[in-house]
Subunit: 402 residues, 2 copies
């Protein structure tokens, strides 16, 4: 098998951990696999460099930031390669350039345009373990570029796609995707396999394991992605296409996002285009509106409600007050979004009604609802949110057998 293994900053956070990574890579190689490793900068390094740059400028040039920030991954890749060589393995570190990773020229948030795999294919055919400096590539001008947040994951997924790897393992400090946050529900179970679409829902609902960009790319390139821990031997979670998952549960997991706030407009002015005006103004100000409900009040006036991320509430407030679009404005950050995710619900009715019944039985009021083919999200009072998660987790029978 050809396996791409990506180790994040925490996994290579100090020299001992880099040695542990070397041991783990060696073990995979000994098992007969071809290995391409992708590494991040040692944890803290990138932030240190960002701090250095901030000392000189509030708005340093993106191109210079890329020159600066791309150094950390190079250090880790060289160190890991040295560790592997010392253990007797034929390893070689490759910068993004030498790995053939080409990007557009949007410095600090470049997109991978294509990967020239010639060099990597040659090194793999020679039996070498390749250690790629993640997070970076080169522009058409040959300048170093970086891929932005989660960039090393992207490097790994893109390389796995281009090299047609059998597996792309993303090592972090958590050992996979759980049916819900184990800190909320101790019986939360690690999910063995999950589809790309479900993972995308989980990621956008606040699960920190993987960023959407990486999952989207994995889906597009049909890369079998595994998220697992570099600190344990536990099997992780495989993220793959739906067809690869034989027994698809109806509901895969419950997500909770407390970073939610609600804006309520009562007695919205009766002017044409007022709603459009509200939402286009919010969009212009980069405020992410999530759920929206509109209804007609008892007196015939319209009421409008929508949710925004809690940290964008202050901006939203200012804008709404300036717009002066309604008689009454209310803002509430004591809400949370509880979501049920599962590709199985496409073909099964009754998922929603189970949710509504469960919450009602627990005396939890549902303030807003939105649904997609594979997700039901509900806004509830924040203080009931953990109870909502636990009761739904049980209602769909997601817990570990004890």
């Amino acid at each position: 098998m050809l396996i791409v293994q990506k180790f994040g900053g925490t996994s290579v956070g100090d020299l001992e951990r880099i040695q542990n990574v070397a041991n783990r890579v060696a073990k995979s190689k000994d098992a007969g696999n071809d290995i391409i490793v992708v590494v991040s900068a040692m944890s803290g390094e990138t932030n240190k460099l960002i701090g250095y740059a901030a000392n000189f400028s509030k708005n340093p040039a993106a191109k210079e930031m890329d020159m600066l920030l791309s150094s950390g991954e190079r250090v880790t890749s060289a160190l890991l390669s040295i560790a592997l060589q010392e253990m007797g393995y034929d390893a070689i570190s490759l910068s993004g350039r030498k790995a053939g990773i080409h990007t557009d020229d949007i410095h600090t948030s470049a997109r991978i345009s294509h990967i020239n795999t010639d060099n990597m294919r040659e090194k793999i055919s020679e039996g070498k373990i390749i250690v790629v400096a993640g997070f970076q590539g080169i522009t058409a001008d040959g300048d170093v570029s970086t891929l932005g947040r989660g960039g090393s994951d992207l490097s790994a997924v893109a390389i796995a796609g281009a090299m047609e790897a059998d597996l792309c393992e993303i090592y972090t400090d958590v050992d996979g995707v759980y049916t819900t946050d184990p800190r909320i529900e101790r019986r939360a179970k690690k999910i063995e396999k999950i589809s790309y679409d479900e993972m995308l829902e989980f990621a956008s609902l606040g699960a920190k394991v993987l960023q959407n960009r990486s999952v989207e790319m994995a889906k597009k390139l049909n890369v079998n992605l595994v998220t697992r821990s570099s600190f344990t031997e536990n099997e992780g979670t495989l993220i793959t296409k739906e067809e690869n998952i034989m027994e698809q549960p109806i509901v895969s997991g419950i997500a909770l996002d407390k970073n939610q706030a609600r804006v309520s407009l009562r007695n919205v002015k009766d002017e044409p285009g007022i709603a459009a005006n509200i939402f286009s103004t919010l969009a212009e100000n980069n405020i992410n509106v999530d759920m929206i409900i509109q209804n007609v009040g008892h007196d015939g006036n319209a009421n409008l409600g929508f949710t925004v991320p809690e940290n964008e509430l202050e901006n939203a407030k200012e804008i709404m007050e300036k717009l002066n679009a309604a008689e009454d404005l209310e803002f509430d950050s004591n809400i949370a979004k509880v979501s049920i995710v599962g590709v199985g619900m496409k073909n099964h009715s009754g998922v929603a009604s189970t949710a509504f019944t469960t919450l009602a039985d627990n005396g939890i009021n549902i303030e807003m609802i939105s649904t997609s083919e594979i997700k039901i999200s509900m806004i509830v009072d924040e203080k009931y949110s953990e109870l909502a998660v636990r009761s739904l987790h049980e209602a769909y029978n997601l817990g570990q057998r004890e």
Copy 2:
């Protein structure tokens, strides 16, 4: 004028110092010059990375070390570029690759093969301040290489040569070349101009200002080199070709090297080729023999004496004892080498006799002598070495007027 300015690790040792460097560069630019800056890694960074590598391997692969070590200069060049941009200057950082520095493939001690100046010329013609990451280049395979000790100086001199710069300023923490070590003779005077050949003698005699590799390259490429301090506004010392120095003093300075030891062989065995055998064995063991004297003793037996660097004495001892080449072996590390340097002495007799008279007047015995066209070196008892330096410094009238 086109000026190349090189700042070493101490000069860019922290963020405040990098800002100071930016101010200094800006001042040169404001004076109407075109500027190419060459920077080292922040002091301590390279040693930190070497320590990291040593944690994994006693003998890490040179190619990986280059990947590792080349990161430090990239960081400094980006930071300095950001600082200059913030001050309103159009600056750009260039890696060794982007500066067009091509080397052979002897990793960690590569030699510059040629410089493709197209990119630098273009940037200079656009009025940009170029900030080059020193110490690095690329091999014919496109891999990063580093130039070894003093590599950033070499980068600067080579760039100055290739770009036909008017001046190459090497900034360190000392403000130039002195007639002798000011810690020994407080009246030591900074030398305004000195020839390449004299500087080469000074460097090989233990002056720490510049390494011979850089001076040799400057001589070869006819680069006007200035060594000066980044911490003061003092003028430095110009190192240039002899013809550029109008009033050449007969003696330029006095150098002292205490890192010397003597090996004496009495009654060397009367075998053909015994001396050749001794010196070839020492050479094979990388022991640098400096002065050699041979004479015939009273009894007709040959005596042989030579000097080696003090830190190589132990090895030399072992080898001499194994060779068993003489009846008597003596080792003495309490000696020092005092040297008089000056291109003027080529055309002036009497320099040597002044030295001998001066030392004799001070009761200092000269144990060995070697001379070149522009240098007289004498081995004396270490405890008299400072006295020798001071009395010679006065005899040639090198001191500052007080």
